[in-house]
């Protein structure tokens, strides 16, 4: 049985956990003080040695990503933190920034020091105003304490952090779209290469990292790469936040070493909601193919989930029990991708539009078997042919759900519509059932 490892989440239960006083009381900013006495390259080496991989979904080794930045040429270089958490099911960065903003700020300073950046940006989605307040406040507190500004703690290192609020667009979670948005444009992805490491913000070398990735850096610097690498599996190292949501007794954030299984997490979370059984789940949000109870004992690390034909993504474990109609679930995700497609490329813009239309027909009971084939054909036309990953993502739950639950699609045909009772899926249905006992 894997034990939980509250590291990023360790302060979340404390009074005013977001304040600099609470953070410093437990060794906050100690890593920064340590690092500033050493060389920037030491921080990069520690992160490389730790095996830290990007926590925003792709899982790319963080130290290697930083290593892609060209040698300093005297011009500006930027750290941009992706705090645009919008992937359906993903709900880890927002509570982290609400409760422990200084963990992110310290990570941002350490990373900027490592990559020789003097201006870092936190791109926060605009729809979480209280998180924005907490981040602005944390930057002001850090500045007052001398952790930001010029000649930080007498080291000669200068850094400003700008916290920037977006304005509602899922696509801005894609790193190059985020950069366009941060430059004051429509958030549409850029052609790669050149990658942001070479030409990023304002055409300058830039590294874009997820919130949880950057928040993991202070621990690595403070406790050492070996400590971090001592958690997790051979290739998937360290501690991560697993977010359980949906039909589970105690949904929430569970911080554990990579490689824990869903069965273990469900045990800790009180199991699937009482009286029901697991039907399907997403390992990493709506952009990852659906899995079933066959995968309960699969280690939740990058390699194992890939091998199962899905992806670890953001570890957004959305749990659906047998009351859930898979067609209804996927229809709603499809509507989301149609709504959020940026319109830049044809396969995604047109494809998601038509997929959404077919799901409307399915739910209304007007679809035929040819429509199911059309879903697969249209998905095939999008996958690998769209400009960025959004289009590919839109197809993931469609093709996997048809593969796993074709009979349920067939049950919707020929005027029948949904065979399940939609009211049975709700949280209040759970409460009523408990009250009736």
């Amino acid at each position: 049985m894997t034990t939980l490892t509250p590291i990023l989440s360790r302060h979340w239960g404390e009074e005013k956990s977001w304040s600099i006083a609470t953070y410093e009381k437990d060794g906050g900013y100690a890593a920064l003080k340590k690092a500033l006495k050493r060389k920037p390259a030491d921080v990069i080496q520690a992160v490389k040695d730790s095996g830290l991989r990007g926590r925003g979904g792709a899982g790319f080794p963080t130290g290697v990503k930083w290593g892609f930045l060209p040698e300093p040429d005297g011009g500006p270089r930027y750290l941009v933190i992706n705090a645009d958490e919008s992937e359906p099911g993903t709900c880890k960065d927002v509570p982290l920034m609400m409760a422990s903003p200084h963990l992110l700020i310290e990570g941002a300073i350490l990373t900027s020091f490592a990559i020789d950046s003097h201006h870092a940006f936190i791109y926060l989605r605009g729809e979480v105003v209280h998180v924005y307040r907490r981040l602005l406040n944390a930057v002001a507190e850090a500045k007052k304490a001398g952790y930001l500004g010029t000649n930080i703690l007498g080291s000669g290192f200068d850094l400003e952090i700008t916290v920037h609020a977006g304005a509602g667009a899922y696509i801005c979670g894609e790193e190059s779209a985020l950069l366009d948005s941060l430059e004051g444009r429509r958030g549409q992805p850029r052609l790669k290469p050149p990658f942001p490491a070479v030409k990023g913000l304002y055409g300058r070398p830039t590294t874009v990292n997820n919130v949880e990735t950057i928040a993991s850096v202070p621990g690595i610097v403070d406790q050492g790469a070996a400590w971090f690498a001592g958690m997790g599996t051979e290739k998937s190292k360290g501690h991560v936040l697993y977010s359980l949501s949906g039909h589970v007794e105690r949904p929430g954030q569970y911080e554990a070493p990579l490689g824990v299984t869903l069965r273990e997490l469900l045990d800790l979370a009180g199991g699937v909601r009482t009286g029901h059984r697991l039907k399907f789940w997403t390992p990493g949000g709506s952009s990852t193919p659906l899995l079933t109870d066959k995968h309960l004992d699969m280690p939740l690390d990058y390699e194992s989930v890939d091998a199962a034909g899905s992806a670890l993504g953001t570890r957004a474990l959305q749990i659906f029990d047998e009351t859930t109609c898979v067609v209804r679930a996927v229809a709603r995700w499809t509507e989301f991708y149609r709504h959020e497609s940026c319109g830049k490329c044809t396969p995604c813009r047109e494809g998601t539009f038509w997929l959404d239309q077919i799901y409307d027909r399915l739910e209304a009971g007007h679809a035929t078997e040819a429509d199911i084939e059309q879903l697969l054909a249209t998905s095939k036309s999008i996958l690998g042919r769209s400009f960025c990953a959004l289009g590919d993502s839109a197809t993931m739950t469609i093709t996997s759900s048809i593969e796993l639950f074709r009979d349920e699609y067939l049950a919707h045909l020929d005027g029948r519509g949904c065979p399940l009772n939609s009211a049975a899926t709700t949280l209040f249905a759970t409460a009523e059932a408990k009250g009736a006992k």
Binding site: L4, P6, S9, H11, G13, E15, K16, W18, E85, S86, P88, T90, C91, V94, P95, M98, A99, G126, E127, V128, V129, H130, Y132, R133, L136, N137, T162, H164, A165, G166, A167, G168, A169, G184, R185, G187, S243, S245, G246, R250, P251, G252, Q253, Y254, E255, A256, L268, A269, S286, Q318, F320, R328, A329, R332, E340, S422, A423, T425, L427, F428
Partner: protein, 213 residues
């Protein structure tokens, strides 16, 4: 431009503060549009012309940006924007029932405003609080674990002018104009209000401590 001289001078001062945060002025465009919403309640034609002037691009370019992002409203909206998450997980957990109840209760549909100008209803996408589903946002503050009844009561209180507290956030929900000013990057002194974390945020922490069994 129909802004008064006083308005223009005040907004220009704010705009200068925003532009100063960035290496290049155009980066200020998104916060400037939030600023305009804090002035007019939506991204008005006057406001967009003002933004264009401030960052040195055409009004067409500002309009192209403003229409891309869902938080910018092209028509005057209500004082309180009530968003119900209808993405898959929240919808299944009760978001669809909440939406149905609210539209009946308030008598307006998606992106429509009540005649008293108080409430605009909106179907919103995932707001990163899935462990608190079903979720409703009022002016981008969290209202977790809602029911059709609780959602209707919140809207009634807002229309009656009562103070309404989010489940996670500031002590009370402020108006959309006030929130838009914060989103433009101007602190409102409310960062220390509210708690650190809701129950589900701490679920793993509690389990690790051996509690909540």
């Amino acid at each position: 431009m129909t802004y008064t001289d006083e308005q223009t001078a005040r907004l220009a001062k704010d705009a200068a503060a925003i532009i100063a945060r960035y290496p290049e002025p155009r980066s200020a465009l998104l916060p400037l549009l939030h600023l305009i919403q804090s002035e007019d309640g939506y991204v008005s034609p006057d406001g967009m012309a003002f933004c264009a002037d401030q960052v040195g691009v055409s009004t067409a370019e500002v309009s192209a940006v403003a229409t891309f992002y869902s938080q910018y409203k092209r028509r005057p909206t209500g004082e309180y924007q009530v968003g119900v998450c209808i993405n898959t997980l929240c919808a299944l957990m009760g978001g669809d029932e909440i939406w149905e109840r609210l539209t009946e209760h308030v008598g307006v549909g998606n992106d429509e405003t009540t005649p008293d100008g108080k409430i605009t209803l909106e179907r919103i996408e995932c707001n990163a609080a899935c462990d608190f589903a079903p979720v409703m946002m009022v002016n981008w503050e969290f209202f977790d674990n809602q029911t059709p009844e609780s959602a209707a009561a919140i809207v009634d209180d807002l229309r009656a002018g009562k103070d309404v507290a989010p489940t996670r956030g500031a002590d009370k929900v402020v108006t959309l104009k006030e929130v838009s000013r914060v989103l433009a990057g101007f602190e409102d002194g409310r960062a220390n209000e509210g708690g650190a974390a809701g129950g589900p945020t701490k679920a793993g922490l509690d389990a690790a401590k051996g509690g909540a069994k």
